[in-house]
Symmetry: C2
Subunit: 339 residues, 2 copies
């Protein structure tokens, strides 16, 4: 093929807050599928907070994104050429194609390239409620929080791709689901559209004491499970309202991603309330994926599990959309449509 496509590489590492200058848009020839390889046209690119971590060289659970190489990222798309017996043109697939319009998947990537069923679940949902965010929510809730009916589960970034699933799954398990989100619009969405029992607008709270007062109203029986997506003051406030033997699934600490550590101010509550706090990375638990997908896809297909997408159009708008994600400007899953 002599056609070209576009891709975005990491041009430089951010010193603190990232900017669009850290990325570079390139136009290059569309690659071809070699022996055993598959060429995929990417329809949607997923933007996720973890990408901020990969832009830095700070110690992490994953190696940093190399400079001048295509930014990593989850994608869904369509097979356009295949030299592999497991795939044929027209197959809908989910994988890690990165920030580019086409990608060739070879031996290294094939284990992560999954054919997906789009008869009842839309393609883009495999980047959201039936993809990594949904599976993350399922794992943290089911395997770390392990909620019992009647318990109260709180989730931060409740309007986001992960948080929105956490609360809805908690409801479906008989729990009181309380969200924390930034802004009245997000809170309305969380309660009225997603069906949470309550949602706290942390932007309406001037300080930790005000946030605590809002939380107190929303959790009259205290908190048994907390799904942590943000860290910082929110975590401090929630910790103080945890019931004895509460469980905290630590999925994200977005407040610390720009380099300034955000402390836990009073960790003695971990002892006082005999809390379990556990960090996790969903990729490391592949055994649960079929169970999670099974429940999540059934709930999306039936319309019971609701979700929204914020979609940027065109690869060239991916950096700006990513920065918006880090600032919480999206509602639901942040995607980039590439077709």
């Amino acid at each position: 093929m002599s056609a070209t496509h576009r891709r975005i590489v990491l041009a430089s590492r951010p010193a603190a807050e990232p900017s669009v200058d850290n990325f570079r848009l390139e136009t290059v020839p569309v690659p071809t599928a070699g022996p055993g390889e598959v060429l995929v046209r990417n329809h949607y690119l997923s933007l996720d907070p973890y990408m901020r971590g990969r832009m830095s060289t700070a110690k992490s659970y994953a190696p940093p994104q190399p400079l001048d190489e295509v930014m990593i990222g989850g994608t869904v798309g369509e097979v356009v050429a295949s030299n592999h017996p497991g795939f044929k043109p027209g197959d809908a697939v989910a994988g890690f194609g990165g920030w580019q319009e086409y990608s060739v998947v070879g031996a290294a990537g094939l284990p992560m390239l999954q054919k997906v069923d789009t008869r009842q679940v839309p393609l883009s949902a495999y980047l959201g409620p039936v993809g990594m965010p949904g599976i993350t929510a399922w794992f943290g809730l089911s395997k770390i929080i392990e909620p019992k009916p009647g318990e109260t589960v709180v989730v931060s970034a409740a309007a986001g791709a992960v948080g929105s699933v956490v609360g809805q799954l908690a409801r479906s398990r008989g729990c009181r689901a309380v969200g924390i989100a930034g802004g009245r619009d997000k809170c309305d969405y969380v309660v009225k559209e997603l069906g949470f029992d309550a949602c706290i607008d942390y932007k309406a709270a001037a300080d930790a004491a005000a946030l605590d007062a809002l939380l107190a109203d929303a959790v009259p029986n205290g908190i048994d499970g907390y799904f942590e997506n943000v860290g910082g003051i929110t975590l401090d406030v929630v910790l103080n309202r945890m019931n004895a033997f509460g469980r905290i699934a630590v999925c994200g600490m977005i407040a610390g991603y720009n380099g300034e550590p955000v402390p836990i101010r009073n960790p003695t509550v971990i002892l006082r309330s005999r809390l379990k706090m556990q960090g996790f990375i969903v990729f490391e638990n592949p055994a649960i994926v079929p169970w999670a997908i099974s429940e999540l896809s059934a709930q999306v297909a039936s319309g019971r599990l609701k979700y929204r997408e914020t979609i940027a159009q065109g690869l060239e708008n991916a950096p700006e959309a990513f920065l918006g994600l880090l600032k919480g400007r999206n509602l639901g899953k942040q995607l980039v449509r590439l077709v």
Copy 2:
């Protein structure tokens, strides 16, 4: 009986650091055993950090110690009169007689009054390695850290009643045991007498970076399990050297007992290293006690599990000994001999 005995009550609550003025020594008639009750002469009183928490009205897992009542505390002693069929004069017992020379145990206290076997294990050991401190060590290590052979386990306050057992049990499970303690003498004791693989003198480190350098030398393969007795800077430094999937048993945070919360400075490591951090109170897990006692008493009887005691003589010296305990002046279990 018209004889008198002595007791110590809580006279006032400390604003910050407690002092001997918070306690009052009283001489009162020796109580008598009513129907169904048992009169015990207490031979040893146990002094423990948790008592500091009970002196305050701050929210805790247990109600505060009432003013003008006998300070709570674990004791071992001998039954001197009994109107209960389960006990007879001369029985060696462990219980919660409090800071006093005699105590009457009635319906409320009888479930916690245990006859103990002093043929192979000394009476005072039931307040140390075979008592609450030993059981605490056993629980946190066996049920939260769950160490595998070859792993590295670190424990703070390693020369103390709990820490000394944690490290020796970790060694007996095939682990590398590393202590953290204050002062060269304590570290020598931990390594040469208790058999830990290494011990770090935190007082020899001018700051967190210096402490980290000492720790780095002692844990060449990182840290898989941490038994936390102190909190503060030590916890921060240890957290940064935890291996992926490390487990932290939070047993004490003595650094925060005087009212100033001590933050965890970089909690994102909980996510980065997928750590589990769990607080626990040993009293809440009665089912494990027989298992713990069985292993601990066998190891004490055989001489394999070593321990030391710091013994103050006479009830009148209990307050001063307690303040010394909070400052780490004791080596091993702090007791008061009452006979």
